[in-house]
């Protein structure tokens, strides 16, 4: 008669034998399945480099799943694509990879600079950087993030989480002259002053008396060979309206102050509304133009774009006319910003006027040698490897190497335990 202890022992031995058999059977089934469906290798971004070498030289997995914590370098991305072309199914996942794109455009401005545009999901944190370090950081709004940078490096990176998109300046611009036509008043004077101080070469045409002109340069012909943009401050420019229209239609830029709009009906983005005096007297650095009077742009043409508003009134509007661009500025007496504004007012007024010009100015481009860039890293992955797949489960459980180690360990322990139990019982 067997004692209870012996019965328990025998049961335990049986269980251990059962475990061994189950493990062996399971391993057999798993191996057959893996053969049928192909071996799936799971790697992370950290392991990718080593894995690529392995897959290329020693193994050829049927399917690989790459869990990307950050976009792979261009070479690695191409490598994966080559692997895919060689017959391995390459899939990738990356929940942290937010779609990001960056573009950089040189500004038409004697002070140089560039406009950087970053596309990123709304509220995503975007960090702009160049070789000298962080330039700016902000949360993207509904339109992404855009910034005007005074002295950009050769390349600019936009970091959104782990994704870094890189753009490089590829063009240099040839700046032409500006032509300012206006009456002898403060707006004309300070507009010319600001643009010249900014570094623009300006031709001016200011009629003081019927036969007396304050002239700088000669208006022999208004064309894109000479002028980057024309600024018409008031109806003084009306006598040149035909020439200016031809100029715009051949690619030139025109900045119209609202008082001049009636003379350029075919070009202007809209009509000049009635004068609205600002209720705010003091010009503050943060919102300087709030204190300026406006003749709003009204009755916008179908193709006009409102660039700035003050309440319901459009204060800046633009449209394309053929290859040319026209911008209408509703702010009358913007010179007051320079004279009466805060500490930075002269610089900011200058920069604002330069902005108006930069938006429309014609500037021939020349391509320059640019360093490598990666402006749309996530899209590039999709383009080469297809869309992402859902992130895999805890891969450690399915890692064949680890699995084998666990199985072997448990197998051995079970066998040893079963053997030891029998031996101790005196059974062989």
């Amino acid at each position: 008669m067997r004692s209870p202890a012996e019965r328990i022992r025998r049961t335990a031995e049986g269980v251990l034998r059962g475990i061994v058999i189950a493990l062996l059977a399971g391993w057999l089934v798993w191996s057959i399945r893996a053969r049928t469906h192909g071996a799936v290798e799971h790697v992370t971004s950290q392991e990718l480099r080593e894995a690529l070498e392995r897959w290329t030289t020693r193994q050829q997995p049927a399917r690989v799943l790459v869990d990307l914590a950050h976009p792979p370098a261009g070479a690695e991305r191409d490598w994966l694509a080559a692997l895919s072309a060689a017959g391995t199914t390459v899939q990738w996942s990356g929940n942290a990879l937010l779609p990001t794109a960056i573009d950089i455009e040189p500004r038409v401005d004697p002070e140089g600079g560039a406009t950087v545009t970053v596309a990123a999901p709304e509220s995503a944190s975007v960090v702009l950087r160049d070789a000298r370090g962080v330039i700016d950081s902000a949360a993207a709004d509904a339109y992404g993030m855009r910034a005007s940078i005074a002295r950009p490096g050769r390349t600019i990176d936009a970091g959104v989480g782990p994704v870094v998109a890189r753009a490089a300046l590829r063009d240099s611009l040839t700046l032409k002259r500006l032509l300012v036509i206006g009456a002898p008043d403060w707006e004309t004077k300070f507009t010319i002053a600001a643009l010249e101080e900014r570094g623009w070469d300006v031709d001016a045409h200011i009629r003081i008396a019927p036969r007396t002109l304050a002239r700088q340069g000669r208006i022999e012909s208004i064309d894109t060979a000479r002028y980057a943009a024309v600024l018409a401050i008031d109806t003084t420019a009306a006598r040149f309206s035909s020439a200016i229209e031809r100029y715009v239609r051949s690619g030139g830029g025109l900045v119209l102050w609202s008082p001049a709009a009636p003379a350029f009906g075919r070009l202007a983005p809209g009509r000049a509304g009635a004068l609205i005096e600002s209720e705010v007297r003091i010009i503050r650095d943060r919102t300087p133009r709030v204190a300026l009077d406006v003749m709003p742009v009204t009755a916008l043409t179908d193709d006009a774009v409102a660039l700035e508003r003050r309440g319901d009134h459009v204060t800046l509007a633009a449209r394309r006319v053929g290859p040319g661009k026209v911008l209408q500025n509703a702010y009358t007496n913007s010179w007051r910003w320079r004279m009466a504004g805060g500490d930075n007012a002269p610089d900011e007024h200058r920069a604002w006027l330069a902005d108006l010009v930069a938006n429309v100015a014609y500037a021939p481009r020349a391509t320059i040698a640019a360093p490598p860039a990666d402006p749309v890293p996530v899209a590039a992955i999709v383009d080469r490897l297809g869309p992402a797949v859902p992130a895999v489960m805890d891969r450690s459980a399915l890692d064949p190497t680890r699995l084998a180690a666990w199985v072997f360990t448990i197998l051995c322990m079970a066998l040893i335990a079963e053997l030891a139990s029998r031996r101790l019982r005196g059974v062989r």
């Binding site: 700016d136 855009r146 010319i192 007396t212």
Partner: protein
Amino acid sequence: MTALQIVRRTRVTLALVVVTTAVLTGFAAGGGVIVLAGLLQLVVALPSLVPALLVPVATAAGLTGCAIVLWRNRTVVSVQHVALWLEERLPELRYALVTAIDPAIAPADRYPALHARVRASDTSSAVRTAWRRPITRSLTAALTVAALLAVLQPQELLGTGGTDLLRRVGNGENEVLANRLEGVIARVSPPAYARMDDSTVEDPVTVAALVGSRVTFQGRGPSSGVTAIVDSTSTEAGEAGRGWTIALQMDTAPAVVTLRDREYRRLVVLETVVDSVPAVRLRLPARDTTYQTVPRGRMTVEAEITDDIGLAHGWFEYMVSTGSAEVFETRTSQGRRIGLDNARTGTLREVIDLDTMRLAPGTVFHIRAVALDHNDVTGPGKGVSDTRTLRIAEPEDSTSINPTPPLPIDSMWMSQRRLNMMTDTLIRMAPQLDRQELTHRSSAYGNAQDEIRQRALAVISILEDDAVGGTFQTQTSTKLREAADLMYEARVNLAITMPDSAMPHMIRVLEILDEIRLANRYYLRGIIQPAAVNVARVRLTGEDPATEEPRRPRAELADERAALAERIAHAASIAREQPDAAVDSLVYIRVAALRLAPDVADALASAAALLRRGESVDTALDRARRALEPPPARIRGPVEWSGIGN
């Protein structure tokens, strides 16, 4: 050998041992001093005096050690003492040797046994035993010191002093000077007026001091060949004890001084600290005032003054202006000078007797406070307060709102001129005119003259009766009176058909009116009533000069911060290959940055220090360049267009 010969031989041996021991001991002593200095140098920085004194001190120690040994063993020269020394070590002699060495006492032929006993004694072994120990000890000490010297290698310690010693005592040629710009110190002596203590900056990179301070650089080594260059002015170093010295004056603008010693160079920034002018605030009177009546009595004036260094004295300035129209007179006076005892704050207070100021209606009384500091370098700094203006109103000041009739003097002048021309014509035409016509016209001209006279009298009445005040109006009215009298004469002559007699008076009237019109713009004090011009009526009725003078363009504004950033970029680009040149560049750039961007100046100083230590400065310089850039301008809104900054 006789006993005496034996003793003499022993004496020589012992003397050699003593001398050898003395030399070895002297070496050990002198070397021991150097070893001690070498050991100390490993632990602490020795003052610059130590190397200079080391060799003489070591020499002295060595000689002293040697002398001590010789002195202690001086008896070795005495035969008797040597004999006694042998007796002490060979007791079996029983004073036979001492006796035998004196032939007068124990001649050899009379005491052969004595001498034989001496000859039989083993003096050599006694001597051998004797010299081993001292020689061994002193040799051991000497070798130990020599070994320590070989390990410590205090060449540098010896070198400086040795070189100097050599220079002083022997051949100074072919010596190699160390870098005399190492271990430089700068002593700053502020100008005397500042009454500040001198200060010292060791190993200076920047020396900040008041304008006019004396900055003295001092270093080790001879002065010949050491110079300091500021801008393009070079100053040679002078001797200062065992070192060199160069004295410079702190100028009004920051500068870089280049210290040169042969191929060695060192840059030091002289950072100017400017002595500010005193800040003066007038407390009393507290504000500008207009008095309706002439104020009398006493008035207190008070001012508060502060200065960064020290105040010298202050006073009040008074200006009393009287007059009106075109003639004014101003009397300036000062209150007493009040000493401020070099304090940094002070108060001026004075009570003025207004009666002595001779104030009157129409007077304008200006008061301000002035203070000087003690700066006798760039001139005393003069601080002034705001000026208080006290006006004493004229009776009509508050009521002279009446729009001035359009300058009656002008219209009178025009009328008189026209009348003169008509009268002149009448005189020329008189022969052709009949008497009646002549009378008629002359009478009419007389009436016209009288009408002008009435206008003149009206103006005189305004000027005199309304008490506009001021001496000149009285002059105007006096002149007008003269003109009016002449008009009367002219009018009378015209009335009696004597236009040629009237003409001289009329000419003189015109001259007087012209004088008054051109030189004497009388006006009524008070609010200007802007007169409106009928712009539409006069528009373009004048000549158009048709000028073609071209407009000169404005120059682009220099972006000094961008230029500074460019210079930093250049320094960064050469930092790896030419760190010394990069450090020099950063020093010069820092001087420029002191004015433009003080925060960047500090960053550049840190970067220069990093570079001197051989560390990377890329990050530091990138940050400095970034600080000099305008911040990025965010562009909000849709991307249909290139975008407008906010």
